[in-house]
Amino acid sequence: MLDATPAPLVQVRDLKMYFPIYSGLMRRHSGNVKAVDGVSFAIPAGETLGLVGESGCGKSTVGRAVLRLYEPTAGTVVIDGEDVTRLPAEALRRKRPAMQMVFQDPQASLNPRMTLARLIGEPLDEHTDWTQARKIERIQDLMDQVGLNRRFLNRYPHEFSGGQRQRIGIARALALNPRFIVCDEPIAALDVSIQAQVVNLLEDLQEKLGLTYLFISHDLSMVRHLAQRVAVMYLGRIAELSPSKDLYARPLHPYAEALLSAVNEPDPVIAAARKRIILKGDVPSPANPPQGCNFCTRCPKVMDICRTVKPALTEVEPGRLVACHLYGITSAAGPTGASEATERNQQGVTQ
């Protein structure tokens, strides 16, 4: 329904990830943080989908829930024909080699007491019954692929710089020949001159190994460079999902528009000429999102309907999905949309 491309490698439908809130003396379940609230997308094999948004919008949670590092509250995640949300433990373990993750902070995600050989070899220990010699051969091969010197085999993570550590993280993710890798802000902790090194490496590996990426980032320029299609998230939902070139040329959702206008172009002439849309206020809490459209409290183009009816993610132009009432289709979204349509807006306008 959402994607015309035949048989995408990754197909996520209506993914929800709620974290319960317990409060009071009895620690009663008093509500949920709706970190991800009905997210759907598909990624064709060999493509990169960029997932952008501000902190707290749920983009990292999507990445983790897709790989079932969290148990999703609802929804399906089909990777290579199998719904990973339903797999029993042992089957999930056997599925793990196909889906891997590169984490944001290579300082925190690498065990400081393990040598490079053990770090990169750990997935092999876990999932193969290879001999030590064969493992070492594979580890050295991986180090070549990510541009680490083979002599560093017995060194520890603290002996490496941030960019090199991220290469170790990538080598670990590649060890078992995955088809799909979630990259969660892999360059956010790196210096500008090192970011390009890692991004180029990811691109080279994708081309060589036919990898499919979900690239999670808050860096909109880098996502433009890397991704074929981009999903913009706001408060647990996708506001717009469009081909990269269309989104950056002409964003349709007002949030996408504001977000892109806030990016600083490294060119003083363009910067002086650009009109910025300055959003007022802060992102509301995902524990208590606004009624109707979750962007209605900050949207410069807000209408009455936005405060009551949740807009569905709908194809408004070929290949472009937008969740906004500006684009005419006023049908309420999902199973909860209909009831909310009749509800009064209890939240009020917080301005």
Partner: protein, 340 residues
């Protein structure tokens, strides 16, 4: 020195070293710049380039030891700050020079209300009584765009969002009408839409209050949007210095050029492949006897290993006044037409 008005802040030949067990680290090496009244000087560099240490050295905010300011002058309205005693320094910090730090979460005290933290410099430097300080604190919070200012005086930092906390930090820095505001990566910890709010606020405040600002960042996009002049730092040194449009249109130092090409653009044609600066930033132990960028430079030649290049003018103006660069290599005459 630069033409025009007398600079409000004039830094000459500043040198800061850290004594460590592994030897001396030359974190700031012969840094000179002048800040004119009302202008915004952008300082760009990667982590370890010395940009923050330079600014901390100006106000002697570094613990000594291990830090040691080994030379130079920091003239604020003609007076050398580096020669001041503790009491003299106290009168400068927060009063003449305001400081906004990167992370508003760790630089605000969590156990005092925001109001108390804004009133502290007012009472210490301006000698205001409680009522007057409170009145001024409300004005300041309104100035930086915090709604419901009077009520918010009694809130604690954790009750504010990241963007609001940074506004509070700016209010504190502005409390005593400083001549110079030093902002060290003030928007780095913030989301882009909140960052846009803060940048807009600073532009407004600058127009309204007219203080000179030093803005430290690693983000060339931010610099392009707000700076008048830019100083690029690498390995503890100033490698290039120019008016903002000149720097982006006609970068001279190989590092500046490469840096501008490593960042992807948000508009225009998508670059096929990002340019990479190979290698790692230098480790600054030992005396800086050669160009700090030489190991990563594509134009490296013999002279780069033998001698640390001095800053030289590119456009005929005195060094520090126009466009200057510290590089042995002479860039070919400007090829791209400079923007009008």
């Amino acid at each position: 020195m630069p033409d025009g008005a007398q600079p409000v802040l004039d830094v000459r030949g500043l040198k800061t070293v850290f004594r460590t067990r592994g030897g001396e680290v030359h974190a700031v090496n012969d840094v000179s710049f002048a800040l004119r009244p009302g202008e915004l000087l952008g300082v760009v560099g990667e982590s370890g380039s010395g940009k923050s240490v330079t600014m901390m050295s100006l106000l002697r905010l570094l613990p000594e030891p291990p830090a040691e300011i080994r030379g130079g002058q920091v003239l604020l309205a003609g007076r050398d700050i580096l020669k001041l005693d503790a009491e003299g320094l106290r009168q400068v910090r927060g009063a003449k020079v305001g400081f906004v730090f990167q992370d508003p979460m760790t630089s605000l005290n969590p156990v005092f209300t925001v109001g108390m933290q804004i009133m502290e410099p007012l009472r210490a430097h301006k000698g205001l009584d409680k009522a007057a300080a409170e009145k001024r604190a409300v004005e300041l919070l309104e100035l930086v765009g915090i709604p419901d200012a009077r009520k918010r005086l009694y809130s604690y930092p954790h009750q504010f969002s990241g963007g609001m906390r940074q506004r509070v930090m700016i209010a504190i820095a502005l409390a005593c009408d400083p001549d110079v505001l030093i902002a060290d990566e003030p928007t780095t910890a913030l989301d882009v839409t909140i960052q846009a709010q803060i940048l807009e606020l600073v532009k407004e405040l600058r127009a309204k209050l007219g203080m000179a600002i030093i803005w430290i960042t690693h983000d060339l996009g931010v610099i392009a949007g707000i700076a008048d002049r830019v100083m690029v730092m690498y390995g503890g040194q100033v490698v290039e210095h120019a008016p903002v449009r000149e720097l982006f249109a006609n970068p001279q130092h190989p590092y500046t050029r490469a840096l501008l090409q490593t960042i992807p653009k948000i508009s225009g044609a998508r670059e096929a492949r990002l340019k990479v600066i190979e290698g790692q930033p230098p480790i600054l132990t030992g005396a800086p006897a050669a160009c700090p960028f030489r190991a990563r430079c594509e134009y490296r030649h013999d002279a780069c290993d033998r001698q640390n290049p001095a800053r030289r003018a590119v456009d005929g103006q005195p060094v520090g006044g126009g466009h200057d660069v510290a590089c042995h290599w002479h860039a070919p005459a400007r090829t791209e037409a400079a923007h009008a």
